[in-house]
Every structure is written in C-alpha cells, then in structure tokens.
Point group: C2
Chain length 272, copies 2
Amino acid sequence: MKRSERLVAMTHYVLDRPRVLISLPFFSSKYDAAKSSISEDLGIINKMFQSEGIGYLETVSGAAGGVKYVPAFSKEYSEFFVGQLCERLEDPERLLPGGYLFMSDILGDPEVTRNIGRLFASAFSDKEIDVIMTVATKGIPLAYAVASYLNVPVVIARRDPKVTEGSTVSINYVSGSTRKIQTMVLTKRSLQEGSKVCIIDDFMKAGGTIMGMRSLLKEFNAEVAGIGVLAEAEDEEEERVVDDYLSLVQIMNADDRQASIEVRPGNLLSHI
Amino acid sequence: MKRSERLVAMTHYVLDRPRVLISLPFFSSKYDAAKSSISEDLGIINKMFQSEGIGYLETVSGAAGGVKYVPAFSKEYSEFFVGQLCERLEDPERLLPGGYLFMSDILGDPEVTRNIGRLFASAFSDKEIDVIMTVATKGIPLAYAVASYLNVPVVIARRDPKVTEGSTVSINYVSGSTRKIQTMVLTKRSLQEGSKVCIIDDFMKAGGTIMGMRSLLKEFNAEVAGIGVLAEAEDEEEERVVDDYLSLVQIMNADDRQASIEVRPGNLLSHI
C-alpha cells in the first residue's frame, strides 16, 4: 500500500475511534508497513488535525503505548460556532409562552448536535468520565454526541418507568420552576456503582432537573464529574440551585409579550 | 501543502459531511492545489473508502458538479456486525416480563448506535429521504445515527405535549400489543408538508407505534419513504399491521418463564 493510500485509511480509522488507544504494531501489521513509516504517518495526521482545528493525536509511550485521537475544537472555531448559535437562537419567533425557547429545529440537525458534542468533549477533555447521563427527551441527542467524542456509554433517566427496561431506582425531586414534586427513574442495571458521570441537558433554568439527576446518581454511589447544558436561562421566581456547570449559550431577558430576547455565549468558551 | 497532508485534511472533510456535494474548485482553492491534483486525491480517497468498506465518493458531473461521500457498509462487514449483535442479544438474562428484551446497554453504546445508523443509511441509500422520524425515547439515538449518515434532520414525536415545543398536532392510535388507545403528538413547525420521511424505531411487535407515526405523518401530508427497526419480535396476540419495513434482527420464541430466546438476522441484510 502506498503512503498516500495508507494515510486515507489511517485518518478514517482514528477519526472513527476517538480516545481509543491504538498501538503502532497494530497499524504496522494492518497496513503492512514498517513502524518507522507508521510513525511518520501519525506525525502528518497529528499536524493536519491540529491545523484543521479538530483535535490532536496523543502519544502514549511504553510497551502498552500507542496513539489516540483526542477530538477538540480550536478556540477560534468554538467562538465562531457559539456566535452562530446565539444568532440563530436570538429570534423572537422562537419565544414560547413562559419564556421557553423553541430549539427543536436546532436540536434536530445532526451536524449541529455533533458539533455541540465536540465542543463539550473539548471542554471536558481533562476530566475522567466513565459515562454520560441525561434525562429524556431533548438532551438525548446532545448526550450521544458528547459520548461519541469521549467514547463512553450513555444512560438515560426517565420521568416514568417502562416495561422494556426492567427494575429501576426512582427518586422524587422538586422542579425548580414549577415547584412541583416530580419523579425520575433510572434502570438498575444501566449504571455501575462508583461511576464518574457527566450530566448533559438541553436547557436549565433554576436547575431542578439537574439536581434530580444528582440525587439519582447518589443512589448509585456515582460521582458527578461534570455538568453541561446547551442553554441556560434566568428564572425570575427561583434562585439557581446548581452552580458548577458549563453552558454553551445564555438566554437573557426572554419576554414573549414584548417579543424580545437576548442570547449570549455561555461560560463554556472560557474552558476551551 | 504536500499531497500527504492534503489527503488527511480532505479525508476528514468529506467524512464529516456525508452526502454533501463538494465542488472541485472549492477543494482546489481551500487546499491551494491544481484541479488535476485534487482529482487524483479524490481517486485515492474513493479507492481506499471502498477497500475499507465504509462507502464511496459519488461523482456528479457538470458545472454544478463535484463529489459527495456516500456512507455504506460492505456486505461482509454488515453480516459480521449483525451476527455479533444477534449473539449479544441472544442472552436469556436480557429477557424481561412480557417477552421484552433489555437492550439499553446496546443502545447506550455510541459506537454501536453509529454502526446501526450506518447500516440503515446503507440500506436506504437509494431512497429519497428528507427527514428521519422517531418517537420518544429509545429510538432517538438510532434516528440521529441514521440521520447523521444521510445528512437529514430528525423530528421526534412524543406521547405527551411539552411546554417547550409550541403548538402540536396530535393523533390517537391503538397500540398493537396492549390494544390501548394511545396519543402521539408532533410539534407543528417541526415538519414541512410533503416531506419524505423515514421512520426509525428500536423495537416492533405488532407495529402499532409505527402505524401511529404513519397516521401522524398523514396529518402533515408527508410521505413514508422507509421504515427501519432495530429489532422485530412476534406478537402472539396480534397480527402485524406493518409489512414494508427493514429490521436488523428478529427475536424469536422469547420466553421469560423458560428463559429461552432466539435472535436471528432480520431482513435488512438482503438490502445491502
């Protein structure tokens, strides 16, 4: 196989397996090339990933060593992407009664959710994360996008148990905005004790839902390793009960009667 | 930029944009290379994608022409993947009361859902599809995976309307298995009239839920362009009401009292 062909195959191979450690001997035998050639190839791939702003190859030395692709967006691209998102969201047509914002079109675009996933994965790249958790329904595509770039599984809490899930652990929590008591369940066998969990959701006002997920994780003796939300908004009634989170955008002064809204970058950008 | 570097960058660029038409002049100016060199590069990429079994570059000729990456799994890999899936599912430990099967661990693995998405995208690659539809909750990761490889948006029907969605269209349908009347809603502005829709879900017994989505699509004057389910199972009580679907696996003789189950490849493999 020529170097040019090998580079195409290897580029796909590492892109398809983020954060998986791949040994040089593996590549060497897969593509039937000397280790020194493979080493040079990986140098070229690493250089180009960085110049394209999509991450880098991390080299792990030693006998059990190799390389792994760490997806990360460049600061420039992250700022550009978040700026674009703010513009798209800052449309009074999106305002729904109660100060909520219609975002289903944005969440329904797989390219956008992929990029959001890549941004969160960049921001959480220094954390040890075993699993991504979200609660049905809107956070699910974001959770999978983040999980896909961090190469960890997803668990989904629900508001109601289902026959297709087996036995569950359930907790009650107080919704921050409506002050109603709500229930959240998680299938028992979906999460191992002691897991380090990153919580991902689409929207946060007072943070009651996030607190609900936190309580649920306590039941599994699991640890919250990070919290990421696509959009945070102020709640006029309630003070926020969660403070250690990253947000992509911040919704300010949403007023459906005045048809006015302001959307600014959230605090995630300062972590990239 | 050297050819070797350009190949890494171009490979990533096309992989990240499945089914997007990219013109030669665009590549030529982006990577500052002659059109003839770009053309050769694309030839190498196409050859390698095919030999790696991940799809091919389709060439569209003419003034508005270019290339697009069509993701597709090779028949060999598809058979291997489905075979593996059958083995993983054919575990009596997975049996839940009522002949349901625990699949959340498999659906929670982003690599598996991505591969399932790529398989469905391969099988539906000759259909004209504008949008993927599913119903909350379990089908969502599969719907996004398929959508991501077909480069179309996702719409999600729900069992109950939510304040964060705006006005909805709702229908009632009869669940095939339980014969209960159920409701399904879809946000009005999430789907355009006349769309060609591919329905994706995780599980199908009699097919009542799929029929529900069909009725909902009728309200939007939308057309069903394809139906794909991860697993189909027999329903002892009800005859199947849907017949034009593709399934990845087929669950036979699930019996939680006898702790026995059989899982075979579905009909999708014959469409690859």
